[in-house]
Symmetry: C3
Subunit: 134 residues, 3 copies
Amino acid sequence: MTYVRKFSLSTQDKQEFKRLDSYLNVALEESGVSEGMMFVYCPHTTAGITINENADPDVKIDLGRALDETFPNHAYFVHMEGNSDGHMKASLMGASESLIIHDGKVVFGTWQSVYFTEFDGPRQRTFYVKVMAG
Amino acid sequence: MTYVRKFSLSTQDKQEFKRLDSYLNVALEESGVSEGMMFVYCPHTTAGITINENADPDVKIDLGRALDETFPNHAYFVHMEGNSDGHMKASLMGASESLIIHDGKVVFGTWQSVYFTEFDGPRQRTFYVKVMAG
Amino acid sequence: MTYVRKFSLSTQDKQEFKRLDSYLNVALEESGVSEGMMFVYCPHTTAGITINENADPDVKIDLGRALDETFPNHAYFVHMEGNSDGHMKASLMGASESLIIHDGKVVFGTWQSVYFTEFDGPRQRTFYVKVMAG
């Protein structure tokens, strides 16, 4: 048994936190795995994957603004595409998350969801979900 | 063979780096795995898991102060709970660490330990350790 | 079948992004795994592993400068070795990356490569690659 799937999504804003719950549920069900690990991987260099609060949407607003102010598009950047701020945010946020599967469910805290984090949108994007039993 | 365990701990300060060595040793022994991977996962959205120096306690003091100054609790934050700085630090520090098990031991560098990083304490907290053979 | 290997490299600068493609290719081939996961792990506390752009070298220049300005070697740091900025960057960049192996290849986006990120060089350094089938 081996399970890996590529998913597609589109982002609407320059910076965006897109919740992945429904995609991960599909992957969990398709894989048929009840004990193991799920890996969510972003194949882009100006986007990432993170875990954060899913209840109050104000958290995403605060995170977005703090990211923009802490990691701005500096005047000294030389990369011609003009998106080095996105590359910076991507490396700090990280390209993947590793999730535990137990008793047929992904182990999450009450307030946790996984987000695709767009840092140079809007764009068509993809991400991968790999599930391993064990 | 499948091994996953939930551990509990309590934090004493608003921000705290709590060393997890003894918990990970328990998990390694209970799992009986000598070649594989160990995943340490934090189910909270204002806390995380990181790896850093275990020798000089001054490193934790420096990290704590630099985190507070770089990612403060901005006046513009709108999240009602008032802990958006903790959410920001949590996403940047990351919710998990992936460790290699080889020859019956977790592979660490000389100065490395795994820490539970509290960013909105003091609180009762939990974390999970999953071990996979292979 | 179990595969883990320790690699050595030397860094030339205080801060440096060292591309790991050739090492990962060796590990993939030696492991013989065509479906599974590859974990790249840094056993140092002033260095890390990240994924970012491999095409325009200006991205590394921009990342390096932004990291230095955002996470400087603060005058208030008390750690005697004087490299707390490196410890800070290491925890934020992260000690490992988790990569999906599918159809005999590591799954990467077009512009992605894995980098060893030196934050307190030049030094002799090591890193580990673990491959699991599944």
